[in-house]
Symmetry: C2
Subunit: 184 residues, 2 copies
Amino acid sequence: MALTHDEVIDAAVGLLRTHGLADLTMRRLARELEVQPGALYWHVANKQTLLVRVAERMLADVTTAEGSTPLLGIRRIALGIRAAVLPVPDGSDVVALGYALDPTSVAAFVRLRELVAELCDSPATTTAATDLIVHHVLGSVGVEQNRRAADLPNRGATGAFERGLDLALTSITTPIAQRSAHGS
Amino acid sequence: MALTHDEVIDAAVGLLRTHGLADLTMRRLARELEVQPGALYWHVANKQTLLVRVAERMLADVTTAEGSTPLLGIRRIALGIRAAVLPVPDGSDVVALGYALDPTSVAAFVRLRELVAELCDSPATTTAATDLIVHHVLGSVGVEQNRRAADLPNRGATGAFERGLDLALTSITTPIAQRSAHGS
DNA sequence: ACCTGAACACCGTTCAAGT
DNA sequence: ACCTGAACACCGTTCAAGT
């Protein structure tokens, strides 16, 4: 019975989850699915777009349920994304690629931006604030995952992440009144 | 005459600058230096540590000169890191790896943290704020570089980056008084 | 001390040809 | 429509052996 696109993506996520990016190869994936490597290219254009779909799938279950306030909703989604990506080796690299190439393909990112917009006074500020939060989430996870892969300690990473997130959130709720210096 | 460690790193930076990570291979590097691939392993332990040295070299010339105020100094270093990394394809990936594995190996990161510390009331806050800034810089550059590599537009990227940076800086100078909601 | 030669176990992608 | 077989042009790393 014929292979489907979804089976390919599911197998790719499984491979990433258990072995990391170094072992998520087209050839290994083909072996897992018991087809020849060339068969995959009927279902996906190339490895890059495969990875974008993998990112989508990884974040598909992040809850975007209504919260009491926009700020709490933002916080919950940020924590949700972190929780979804952290256990998947090299997950932050894959999701960062997806965010760069197609930020609207992930519901959690779209919902995050909507909630941020409720607290911002212009689309430009909304974009800047959303990016700040997403970069912090993916950057933090990336550091943790790179260190883990190199057998380095991650002491206090969760606390540091949450403190950084709160700083970012503080800046969104701070009126334009107290603005810091603008150089050059 | 014998190859030196520095010649290897310089050639690696050159390869990255002109062709990106996909073409920065140990074999290609060896060809460039007119040696056999195995020869490189006398000078570097493996590709991963080579990349960490490449990151160091990329940021070696970022100016950490004294500014009038800590805030302006932070801003200048952040812009300097961005300017150094942006023109090097996949530079943000390489530097992010370096920041994760050995954040003290880059003078610009160390100086950035010192300046942030002058505005923070605890080491924990200093860490969170420094990470927030670094993640924003590298995340922004990463998005731009991934999009460029995929022939996607980067309209208004510089402005969006600076707005995000200013949000992050605002949060540092905002007293603990006006703190945003803390959930769960 | 520094490098070559040669091997080992892999890659992503393409494409004629099969069913 | 979907896949095989086979090829093309590559990878990182190791290590005996040479100088």
